[in-house]
């Protein structure tokens, strides 16, 4: 029971790191980015190549994956995405689904369609028991890393100048612009950072989530659930939603394995009917 909870928390933490970039882009630019998973996949494949083929240690592979994906995200934002912000939601959906299709086929072409595994160091494999609760070492690492990231993000958002600019831009873009905040630049940095986080999540999660070319399609719905259920106005909303989703998914797969993902879709629809703006939304203004 507690093991399920533990696995669920690890899974949820991972989902949060994967999806928090998406929640910021959605909240800031009101932009529906279905291609977010493609960046996560890029991070995962980057680590696979670096660790398995080049032989770089796993601990070094993770930050490189973050950097590479952040750069890819920045380039895409500056060249492609920014033309689509002002468009209708339908256009955004079409555009990003197109990107997803392209990334799926391109990875399939370059890396093959089989599932990839990252070679995890020996020290991180195996389990140990605390008070009779079995905990995987790797999952513990995920919880620690993602927990630190969450605290760091929260601090950046709450304490730094950049954080207050970002919050101002999310709350009211026009007024923020009027106050001399360069919203475009803030957004580019945030987008790159969010993509980088997704890449890091993809690298960390390759072991748990599995990594193959259909990754963006398979997990797109999970990211979107996190964002829609959590709301886009804060970072705690998506965080709690991720934990809820992670625990519900692991528990659902454990107790009613044949229903698979049915449980979380049902939860999502129930939440959206109950609170269409998300579970933790502050206002309904947007």
């Amino acid at each position: 029971m507690l093991t399920i909870l533990f696995d669920g928390v690890a899974y949820g933490m991972l989902l949060f790191v994967l999806a928090c970039g998406l929640s910021v882009t959605l909240g800031l630019m009101n932009f529906i980015n279905l291609a977010h998973g493609a960046f996560a996949m890029a991070g995962g494949y980057c680590t696979v190549i670096l660790v398995n083929r080049v032989g770089i240690p796993f601990a070094l592979g993770l930050p490189i994956a973050f950097l590479v994906t952040a750069i890819i995200g920045w380039v895409f934002e500056r060249t492609l995405y920014r033309h689509v912000y002002a468009r209708s939601h339908l256009d955004q959906v079409l555009f990003t689904i197109g990107l997803v299709f392209m990334s799926v086929a391109a990875i399939d072409y370059v890396m093959g369609s089989s599932q990839q595994f990252v070679q995890i160091p020996q020290a991180l494999q195996g389990q140990f028991e605390v008070f009779g609760v079995g905990m995987g070492k790797y999952r513990l690492l995920i919880i620690v890393v993602c927990g630190l990231l969450t605290v760091g993000l929260q601090l950046i958002l709450a304490k730094t100048r950049f954080g207050s600019r970002l919050r101002a831009a999310v709350d009211d873009q026009r007024v923020a612009r009027g106050l001399g905040i360069n919203v475009g630049a803030v957004f580019a940095v945030t987008f790159a950072f969010g993509s980088g986080l997704a890449g890091l999540g993809g690298a960390l999660g390759a072991e748990i989530l599995g990594l193959d070319p259909t990754f963006p399609l398979k997990y797109m719905i999970y990211f979107l659930i996190v964002v829609t259920v959590g709301g886009t106005s804060s970072i705690t909303g998506p965080f709690l939603a991720s934990l809820l989703l992670g625990v519900a998914d692991v528990a659902g797969k454990y107790y009613v394995p044949k229903l698979g993902a049915f449980v979380i879709y049902a939860i999502m629809i129930a939440v959206l009917i109950w609170r269409p703006q998300g579970l933790f939304a502050r206002s309904v203004a947007r």
């Binding site: 939601h89 555009f95 197109g98 698979g260 049915f262 999502m268 629809i269 269409p276």
Partner: protein
Amino acid sequence: MTAVTVKNQAALAADVSAYLKQRARWSPLEIAFWIFAFATIFLFPSKYLILKDTAILALFALSLDLILGYAGIISLGQAAFFGLAGYFSGLVAKYGIINEPIIALVFSGLVAAALGFVTSFLVLRGSDLTRLMVTLGVSLMLGEVANRYSNITGGADGLQGVDIAPLFGRFHFDLYGHNGYVYCLIVLFVCFVIARRIVYSPFGLSLRALKGNTLRAAAIGIPVKWRLVAIYTVSAGFAGIAGALLTQTTAFCSLDVFSLERSADLLLVLIIGGTGYLYGGLIGAVIYKLLQDWIANLTPEYWQFWIGLVLVIIVLIGRDRMESWTASARAFVVGLGARILSRPPALGGAAPDGP
């Protein structure tokens, strides 16, 4: 004084109804389109399978156009209705509950429409993103359910052993797909006529009004919510008929009827053809199938990449600009048709009011 107003009102009403009737008249170009569509039965006897798929896709796209183009509801979940009706028609045929394909088809449409009615209340809440999520969630949930009860649906292997009885007890669905294609085409035509009737009715006009501005539409007395529920239900029924056609003509149904790709492809079809006029889905389906066939011949494994590229390019060019191109192309064709037939142009009228 009042008598005058009443008289004026009567005259106005007569004017309006005359205008509406004129708008709803079948233009020569539309008639030519359908004559050509039925002529394909004799023109391309070796292409029945792809033609049949095109007809089914066209009907499916038509169903999406009803809600997207006319009522402005973005949906990624039309596959839910398509798949539900597909499985329904497969199961009733497999267990011999309803043997006559046409009756099974009608019932499949009704089942899908019932699901559409129930889920419409979920869809009509919230923003575009919420709608996307709920529609997508419904179709994925149905996919999970179909996977769960694999003893009934066949699970990942698909529904096998479906034996479709001959149409009217006479026409078998043969391997070459001749009867299947004729059947699909007739169903498509019937559904199109119904959709056309809906779109040109006052009900259809009220849909356009509320797509343009929901608040104003409500202010002039259109019951926005019930209109949306109604069109969503009708659209679900059409999508269901398309799904049932696929199962009946292939005697097979698999889990991918519920997949996200199916709904996403459908959006692409409609975008290629143009939203908001009934021929958009039809033309889009033809272009999409040709494109898919051509690309799949070039690179069988990676055709998805090129489909994605087409989507990205369409958005970057801008749908408005593309629509103005297609509109001018349409105007050109209409002008040509008018010159040849020397009748007033009217296919432009098939796109009521423009964007």
